[in-house]
């Protein structure tokens, strides 16, 4: 089971990305309709379509029953980014009505559930996950927020500066290991 965290600036630019592979097994059962997919077409465009519709990941997990770990690389990585980007629509919509910073399971797309955390500075932390884990995700977001605020204390750090701090990275990873 994997988690994908994106820290997005107000202009939708990712400042930090993290792919966390959790040791917990995936609980989601694929829809019966998603099984037995035809091998479809060979053109590159069909590949794009396959990836975007979530079929490639479904097929992957379907065929490799045991190993539930999906890697976020290659085409899938692109799809995951697309999903995260697309979920911003819903996040922007919901965050204006909710007065909470933590928007849990704000969107679902393909097999992914999207949770988000919106800071007062309009930074959006977007997490793509598969299983429900509300409390863990909330704690994780709060941790990341604190780390982010600490990073922002740097006067040279604007809302649009990518975060390249190794310390930040290490701590976020530690937090992810702890809660996710």
């Amino acid at each position: 089971m994997s988690h994908h965290l994106f820290l997005l600036s107000p202009s939708d630019t990712p400042l930090y990305e993290l792919t966390h592979l959790s040791s917990k097994p995936s609980q989601a059962t694929p829809s019966p309709l998603a099984s037995n997919l035809p091998s479809w077409s060979t053109s590159a465009f069909a590949g794009t379509l396959t990836a975007l519709s979530g079929a490639s990941s479904a097929a992957q997990s379907y065929h490799t029953q045991g190993g539930n770990v999906r890697m976020g690389g290659g085409k899938d990585r692109h799809v995951i980014q697309m999903v995260a980007n697309a979920s911003l629509d819903v996040i922007e919509d919901v965050m204006r009505k909710e007065n909470l910073m933590y928007l849990k399971s704000v969107d679902k797309f393909n097999e992914w559930t999207v949770s988000a955390f919106v800071t007062p500075g309009n930074m959006k932390f977007v997490l793509l996950h598969e299983a429900r884990n509300d409390d863990g995700i909330r704690s994780f977001f709060l941790d990341v927020w604190e780390l982010y605020v600490k990073t922002m204390l740097n006067p040279f750090h604007t809302a649009h500066t990518p975060i390249r701090s190794a310390v930040f990275d290490a701590r976020v990873r530690a937090s992810a290991k702890k809660y996710l």
Partner: protein, 1337 residues
């Protein structure tokens, strides 16, 4: 495929077909007319009273409607198996629309034959549907009616002159419906039989095997079929019981209107019939659930909702128990649809909306249906069934979503909702939103947050809720669907997202739509070189990838229909725009000739403003790559180039180097391909504003024209030497002076000039420009455009040569740039004026203010939407500013001289100090114009320091005068302007002679020859211009001046005779003069510091004295004293009282020296006498043994007060002489002198005779004083001091004797001086005299 409708289950589809020779517009017109009948009241439908057909006929006076929809293409044959499961998907009736015009005179029978042929073509022979058809023939012109109608069944002619055709068409449609309803009964009848029911329960998606029951195979008897209304004869009870022969099913159609690649693997797998074996074996256990459901479906279609609801409930109970989940779900959907239909009709009748949240019941059913679809794992024949189950699942999800959307968009459960659900679709924007999106002009169709939120609060349905429902439709199962269905689903999903304003999600889905379409395009092209897949763009409006080329064996160029390409590219652009990439940042222009009209000079193009990055760079690059791949696959090469270049322009900051190279080379390749294929479109110039600066290189000095006022020509001699026109400006800092210096550049007609353009390349590859040329206004110029390569990441100066063809003002606006394969674009470069600067600064600060703050978040922060907001705020201020451009003046053609030769070797001249030599310069006119004006000016190395010293103003008055004198009267170069000719015809030579004067300190000089053709014939009688232009030739001269003779120790002494006698014999002659008292001695030492001897001559040239000179040879290293008698002179008082003049027109500077009046007077006196003296005495030198001569300057010598006294003629002269008595005559006689010394006798009385002469102009009183030395050895009589002389008139003399006796031997000096008791100050100017006496025993 038709857009998704919630109410599709309740609508009878009637296919509209164009028949025969019909114009498209005509068909569209009547099709639109037919389409206005969306619903028909049940009461209007003519009842068929026949027993077996009346089952679905509406009861008389029944209230209710039949809902109709009119697709224009049939369902694909792959869906044939669904004919019983979902009859509403099929066109149940067909209306052909034909035109008959009197001109064509097409016979009715042929129209009918065509119609029938088309029907048999479109529908497989074994198809259950369509149930009824009709062909409408509209007369095009209302001229002579072709009344030869005959009686063709299924063909209705509507004459052109018929009024109220609409009414008639309506009745015809009602008739058709009646037929269809009647046929429903037939179908159901066949199903109700046990065999039919077994067929129904045989498979998941069963079909009736009607074709096989035909008495004869259809292909054997086509004319029979075409002439008859097909269905009534087909379906009769006995035929149903026949044994079927499945051979006909293998007929494969070649010409298909249907979508998809003819042989995609999915399509093959989903082709129904051939794989089916023995369906009858399964249907042993058959419940009536499915039958009831079919019945209910038909009732729903027939508008009898009461019956439908009864049968649906029955069916649901049975299907639930038998676990037939797919049919169960379908029944639930039918039930849900029925409720909406009920609501619609009830609303239409009484208009009372029902209670709160009435749609929950409907939604529950739909959700349940979706869940059932989702759960159903199809047991058998998985390949085909997966696709259908997925198809129904996604459609039920969309049904759910569209219900929510309709409720949301039409503010609740009301008539608008029902209308939208039944007759609208997701493709049309609901009216509540469409009004608003019109008002927000052009740009984004985004629903504003406020309006969306208002709808949400009214209905209680949030956008995110709708979105989450829609998202369920999206999943891996999409791959089960056929491409046509997939596009349909994805397109609808995208449309819903778009209505919700979820642009990013829409973009995501649209990428998939694109993937589908492009896959079809690619596969279609791979398989068949010829015709491409028809209808690949079914979902997208106007997509038609048809390729009308006829397939040939060789070399037939396919003409591609670019209309479809365009809309695919529009989708691509939309996706990119959502992600913040403006793919149209670089525009495509129609052709090469069409220059892009407006030139770019706005500040928005300025690269220095740091644009904040928007969006997700990784995604952006990926999407752009995909967009390019799409354009390449179409293929649309100009679009490929456009996309590459646009993304380079907008994204190059975040792009990796490899990507930049890749995009650039792709663009170049695409452009060359496009050009090869004769595509007339071109890419606009793309790379931002490449031009950084423009400057005109000044002409070389030889060619540079200099503007002079025409008055220079008439005015012969200027009063002040231009060298000394120093600082006349009273201000130390004058800002206007620097402005005045910046006059516009001068260029010459018909002569080349160079312009330097600095270009900038911000990319990491070498930017190639195929054309770079100047953009000018004003006079015409001739300039060759050049091609160049701007190195990567650099500023690159380029020189362009040009030539002005006429005289006038030339404005250089900027430059025109063309990239390879692109269009020419003009870039303006206005001069940066203060206004412009401040405007830019304001703009920049506004942007700076925004950067770093997240004022606009999300999609609002895309660069273009941000800019729109900003520009609206500042639009007013930028309106009235007009740019100013680089200007230069082109003057008329000018002659050109060159220096042919000079008399100097190596341009160097060597002189002794004070020597004068001449330089001859031969000029040649090498132009075609004559030269009629030549003037020479000079510069040398002594001028500048002197001028600077003068400008500093620290010199004393005296030194100032000397410096100025030096500058003016002793220049190094002089030119006698009056001599010689000053004109040269073309090709002629002209000689000028320049005198060169040796002046110590001069190291080099320059001779400037200004020339012009100023008296040129004027073509018009206009006022002559105020100015003319000259050109200047400069000839530098290296000057070496040797300092060899030095004059110093000037002295002027009273003339005493002994001076002459002390001199050597040969020099004595010039010293001998007449009256001693009238003369003084001018004495100066000359030192020779050079290596060779010089002969030095001093000349005296005084007005009232004879000329005299003295010559001395001065050997090297030695010093000689020169003595020259000068006759005393006196200057008039008013002359010597004048102040020391200044030779320049310098401002009067208050003297800083605090001299008293007397001192100043003295200074002036010294000055004027010196001037006079230097005028009288002239020094010359001559090289011994050589020919070189020159002047010896005395100006560095100063005179002092004693010298002045000696020089000046006294006011009263005193003359002393010693006389004694002659023994013989007792007469007084002068005592003899020897060498000027008297020899008086010892102890004898001698007379000291004193003669006082008044030399002044006025009578004066004098006294005389004596000093006798040594006084103790001289006896005298009377007094020695203040001896009154009395008043002497002018020139009157008075003599008196004083007796003295020398009482000792030795030398005596007797001195006398005159005093004037009335004016003591004048003492120096009165005479004194001295006699010497040597007394010997």
């Amino acid at each position: 495929m038709d857009p998704l409708e919630f109410g599709s289950l309740a609508r009878i589809r009637i296919l509209l077909l164009p028949v025969g020779n019909i114009k498209r517009s005509f068909f569209e017109q009547w099709a639109a007319e037919v389409r206005t009948f969306e619903s028909i009241r049940l009461g209007d439908i003519p009842a068929d009273t026949r027993d077996d057909r009346a089952r679905f006929m509406p009861s008389p006076l029944a209230s209710g409607h039949i809902h109709l929809s009119y697709p224009s293409h049939p369902l694909p044959s792959s869906h044939q198996t669904l004919s019983l499961f979902r009859p509403s998907d099929f066109p149940l009736g067909v209306i052909g629309i034909a035109s008959s015009s009197s001109s064509q005179n097409e016979s009715m029978s042929s129209i009918l034959a065509q119609f029938n042929a088309m029907l048999s073509d479109l529908f497989p022979p074994g198809a259950l549907f369509p149930l009824a058809n009709n062909c409408l023939v509209f007369e095009e012109s209302d001229g002579s009616t072709n009344l030869n109608l005959g009686n063709y069944p299924g063909l209705v002619v509507i004459p052109g002159m018929m009024g109220n055709k609409r009414l008639y068409v309506g009745t015809l449609i009602a008739d058709l419906c009646s037929n269809i309803l009647a046929e429903f009964a037939t179908v159901v009848q066949s199903l109700e039989s046990p065999l039919g029911n077994e067929y129904l329960n045989a498979t998941l998606f069963p079909t009736l095997p009607p074709v096989s029951e035909m008495p004869k195979p259809i292909e054997n008897e086509p004319p029979v079929r075409s002439s008859l209304p097909p269905l009534p004869s087909q379906h009769s009870q006995p035929e149903l019981l026949r044994v079927r022969t499945p051979t006909t099913l293998s007929v494969k159609r070649n010409s298909s209107i249907g979508p998809g690649p003819p042989s995609s693997p999915f399509r093959q797998s989903s082709l129904p019939a051939p794989t089916k074996k023995k369906p009858l074996t399964i249907g042993a256990v058959s419940s009536h659930g499915r039958l009831f459901k079919v019945l209910a479906d038909f009732f729903l279609l027939a508008g009898r909702t009461m019956d439908a609801s009864v049968w649906y409930s029955e069916a649901i109970i049975l299907l639930k128990s038998s676990q037939d989940s797919v049919w169960h779900a379908s029944a639930l959907e039918g039930l849900a649809t029925m409720q909406v239909v009920d609501a619609w009709s009830s609303n239409q009748m009484n208009g009372t909306p029902e209670g709160t949240e009435p749609w929950t019941e409907v939604i529950e059913k739909v959700v349940q249906a979706a869940v059932l679809y989702c759960r159903s794992a199809p047991p058998a024949e998985p390949e085909a069934n997966f696709s259908f189950v997925s198809w129904f699942y996604t459609r039920s999800i969309l049904r759910h979503a569209s219900l929510l959307l309709a409720v949301w968009a039409s503010k609740g459960w009301g008539p608008m909702t029902f209308a939208m659900l039944l007759h609208g679709s997701t493709a049309t924007l609901p009216p509540t939103l469409s009004q608003e999106s019109e008002s927000t002009s052009n740009g984004s169709k985004r629903v504003s947050y406020n309006s969306a939120e208002r709808l949400s609060s009214i209905t209680g349905i949030t956008r995110s809720a709708i979105s989450s429902v829609v998202a369920q439709a999206h999943g891996p199962w999409l791959l089960h669907l056929g491409s046509r269905e997939r596009i349909f689903i994805l397109e609808n999903v995208a449309a819903i997202y778009s209505i919700l304003g979820y642009l990013r999600k829409e973009a995501y889905i649209l990428r998939e739509v694109l993937g589908c379409i492009m896959d079809l395009v690619v596969c279609g092209r791979e398989e068949s070189g010829g015709p491409m897949v028809a209808g690949a763009g079914l979902g997208i409006q106007g997509v038609d990838l048809g390729d009308s080329a006829n397939r040939g064996s060789v070399g037939i160029r396919t003409v591609e229909n670019v209309k479809g390409n365009e809309s695919i590219l529009r989708v691509v652009k939309h996706i990119c725009r959502v992600h913040g990439i403006d793919l149209e940042a670089v525009r495509l222009v129609a052709s090469e000739t069409a220059e892009s009209g407006e030139a770019v000079n706005d500040g928005s193009e300025e690269p220095e403003t740091v644009e904040e990055a928007h969006g997700w760079p990784e995604l952006q690059i990926g999407i752009v790559r995909e967009a390019i791949a799409v354009a390449e696959a179409l293929p649309d090469y100009p679009a490929v180039a456009q996309f590459c270049l646009s993304s380079l322009k907008t994204l190059h900051v975040v792009m990796s180097h490899g990507d930049q190279h890749h995009f650039y080379s792709t663009a170049a390749r695409a452009l060359s391909t496009a050009r090869r294929r004769g595509d007339s479109r071109r890419v606009d110039y793309w790379s931002g504003k490449p031009i950084v600066s423009i400057e005109i290189l000044p002409l070389p000095l030889v060619r540079l024209p200099i503007e002079k006022p025409i008055s220079l020509l008439s005015q012969k001699q200027e009063g002040i030497n231009p060298i000394l026109v120093g600082k006349t400006d009273p201000f130390l800092y004058n800002p206007r002076r620097s402005l005045a210096g910046q006059s516009s550049t001068l260029l010459v007609q018909n002569e080349p000039f160079d312009v330097v353009i600095t270009l900038r390349n911000p990319y990491i590859f070498d930017l190639e420009l195929s054309k770079l040329s100047l953009s000018t206004a004003g006079v015409a110029i001739e300039s060759k455009p050049m091609a160049l390569v701007v190195p990567a990441n650099s500023f690159h100066p380029v020189t362009i040569a040009a030539q002005a063809l006429e005289a006038g003002t030339l404005t250089i606006r900027g430059c025109c740039v063309q990239a390879p394969g692109g269009a020419t674009r003009e870039f303006l470069l206005p001069l940066s004026t203060d206004d412009e600067e401040s405007r830019q600064a304001r703009r920049r600060s506004a942007i700076d203010c925004e950067t770093g703050r997240s004022k606009h978040a999300g999609l609002d922060s895309r660069p273009f939407s941000k800019k729109r907001k900003r520009s609206s705020a500042t639009a007013t201020s930028t309106a009235q500013h007009t740019p100013k451009f680089l200007q230069c003046q082109v003057v008329l053609e000018q002659p050109l001289l060159r220096i042919r030769r000079t008399s100097l070797t190596h341009g160097a001249v060597m002189l002794y100090n004070g020597e004068k030599s001449t330089i001859r310069i031969t000029l040649e006119n090498v132009s075609s114009l004559p030269v009629d004006f030549v003037r020479l000016t000079f510069d040398d190395s002594t001028i500048a320091p002197a001028q600077q010293a003068l400008a500093e103003g620290d010199l004393s008055v005296y030194d100032t005068y000397e410096t100025e004198f030096d500058l003016i009267h002793k220049p190094v170069f002089t030119w006698e302007s009056s001599s010689g000719k000053h004109a040269a015809e073309p090709g002629e030579k002209l000689v000028v002679t320049v005198d060169c004067f040796g002046k110590v300190g001069c190291t080099h000089g320059i001779i400037h020859v200004s020339y012009s053709y100023c008296h040129r014939p004027r073509p018009t009688l206009d006022k002559p211009p105020d100015t003319f232009h000259t050109r200047q030739l400069s000839y530098p001269v290296l000057v070496t001046v040797y300092q060899m003779l030095e004059c110093f120790n000037l002295d002027i002494l009273p003339y005493s005779p002994d001076t002459a006698f002390l001199s050597p014999e040969e020099h004595r002659a010039p010293l001998l003069i007449g009256d001693v008292d009238d003369w003084c001695i001018f004495s100066v030492e000359v030192r020779n510091t050079y290596g060779i001897p010089f002969e030095v001559t001093f000349e005296r040239d005084q007005p009232d004295a004879s000329a005299g000179q003295t010559t001395t040879l001065v050997p090297p290293g030695s010093t000689s004293r020169i003595l020259l008698p000068i006759k005393k002179f006196a200057l008039p008082d008013d002359e010597i009282r004048q102040p020391i003049p200044t030779l320049s027109d310098r401002q009067f500077v208050v003297s800083k020296s605090g001299l008293s009046a007397e001192q100043e007077q003295l200074q002036r006196e010294l000055f004027w006498y010196r001037e006079a003296l230097l005028g009288y005495v002239r020094g010359k030198w001559k090289e011994t043994g050589g020919t070189r001569t020159g002047e010896l300057s005395l100006r560095q010598l100063r005179i002092t007060q004693p010298m002045l006294n000696s020089t000046r003629v006294e006011q009263a002269r005193l003359h002393l002489a010693l006389w004694c008595h002659e023994e013989s005559t007792d007469e007084l006689k002068p005592i003899p002198t020897r060498a000027g010394v008297y020899q008086p006798p010892l102890n004898e009385l001698v007379y000291l005779r004193t003669k006082v002469t008044n030399l002044s102009k006025t009578p004066r009183t004098f006294t005389v004083n004596f000093v006798l030395d040594p006084p103790q050895h001289i006896l005298f009589e009377g007094v020695l001091s203040d001896i009154p002389v009395g008043r002497l008139a002018s020139d009157e003399a008075y003599e008196f004797d004083t007796p003295v006796t020398f009482v000792a031997c030795g030398r005596f000096e007797l001195t006398a001086f005159i005093t004037d008791p009335s004016s003591v100050a004048d003492r120096d100017r009165l005479g004194r005299s001295l006699v010497k006496a040597a007394v010997q025993p």
